[in-house]
């Protein structure tokens, strides 16, 4: 069984023992289960990898939520003020992610973050075409996507 299902079982056990199946208590159980698995089974490779992966998932989520908020404020400003400050462009960004899952997650996250919208992937999967709302500097954009890709790949691999 995978480490994640063990962790979920521990969360359920915790909820059963404390007699409270509320969402918050299940989360507490999941956190405790994670700590126990990470400590007790730190010598088992699968579980060691799981322990390292969990913080990365959280990192990805928090960065994602922050980006979502920032992107909205910038678009909001442009929608509400009379002048358009947009500098739109369609840009090709090289892809390192090769699997369907990784490309899908990356493209979805790009669509939901600051001023970028994924349009298409080239047929050989080497390039992702993005529509950018504010193209200030193309290299900065590439670096930003690169960083996001790193975080997605860190979670998936």
């Amino acid at each position: 069984m995978s480490p994640l299902s063990w962790n979920l079982i521990l969360a359920l056990v915790w909820a059963a023992i404390t007699g409270n199946f509320s969402g918050a208590n299940l989360l507490v159980g999941f956190g405790l289960g994670y700590l126990i698995l990470g400590f007790a089974l730190r010598d088992v490779p699968d579980f060691a990898r799981y322990r390292e992966k969990m913080p990365r998932v959280l990192m990805l989520l928090t960065h994602f939520l922050r980006d979502l908020l920032v992107s909205n404020l910038r678009v909001a400003y442009d929608v509400l003020t009379p002048t358009h400050y947009m500098r739109p462009a369609v840009v090709a960004v090289p892809l390192r992610a090769k699997t369907d899952g990784a490309i899908t997650i990356l493209a979805n996250m790009i669509s939901l973050t600051p001023g970028t919208l994924s349009l298409d992937v080239s047929s050989d999967r080497s390039v992702l075409y993005l529509h950018v709302m504010y193209l200030d500097n193309e290299d900065d954009l590439r670096k930003q996507i690169h960083k996001l890709e790193d975080r997605v790949l860190a979670v998936l691999e």
């Binding site: 678009v75 739109p88 349009l119 298409d120 080239s122 050989d124 075409y129």
Partner: protein, 124 residues
């Protein structure tokens, strides 16, 4: 008390972002930028309202459902935007004339459905 305040703030912010999404559809100059306005502001707006609902009821069943709704909005909104944007682009919907550059131009072959990458230009 503090719970009510939190609920009100999230409700107002959520509806505000959805309102912005609507205005964005009217005000943005072309299809792709309208999609920017609706995907992001719409997602955040609906997500905030759902969070407000969860905070108001503080009930496991309601929270589970709101989280499921948020998850599905996060999954479907960008996919829909991608599909509409891609279709619109290839069908030839006119784009804003102030576009700075367009890397995708002439890279798609409607007959073979092959989308080339920029390197193909150098060695076709």
């Amino acid at each position: 008390m503090i719970n009510d305040l939190l609920v009100s703030v999230m409700m107002v912010a959520g509806t505000f972002f959805m309102f912005l999404a609507g205005i964005g559809v009217l005000r943005m100059p072309d299809l792709l930028m309208r999609l920017h306005a609706t995907t992001k502001a719409g997602t955040l707006g609906a997500g905030l309202v759902m969070l407000a609902v969860a905070t108001h009821f503080l009930d496991a069943g309601v929270t589970a459902r709101t989280l499921a709704i948020i998850l599905f909005i996060l999954l479907t909104a960008p996919v829909a935007a991608h599909a509409i944007g891609r279709a619109g682009y290839f069908v030839g919907v006119p784009l804003w004339d102030k576009m700075l550059k367009d890397d995708l131009k002439d890279r798609y072959d409607p007959d073979t459905h092959i989308l080339h990458n920029p390197d193909d230009d150098k060695n076709p």
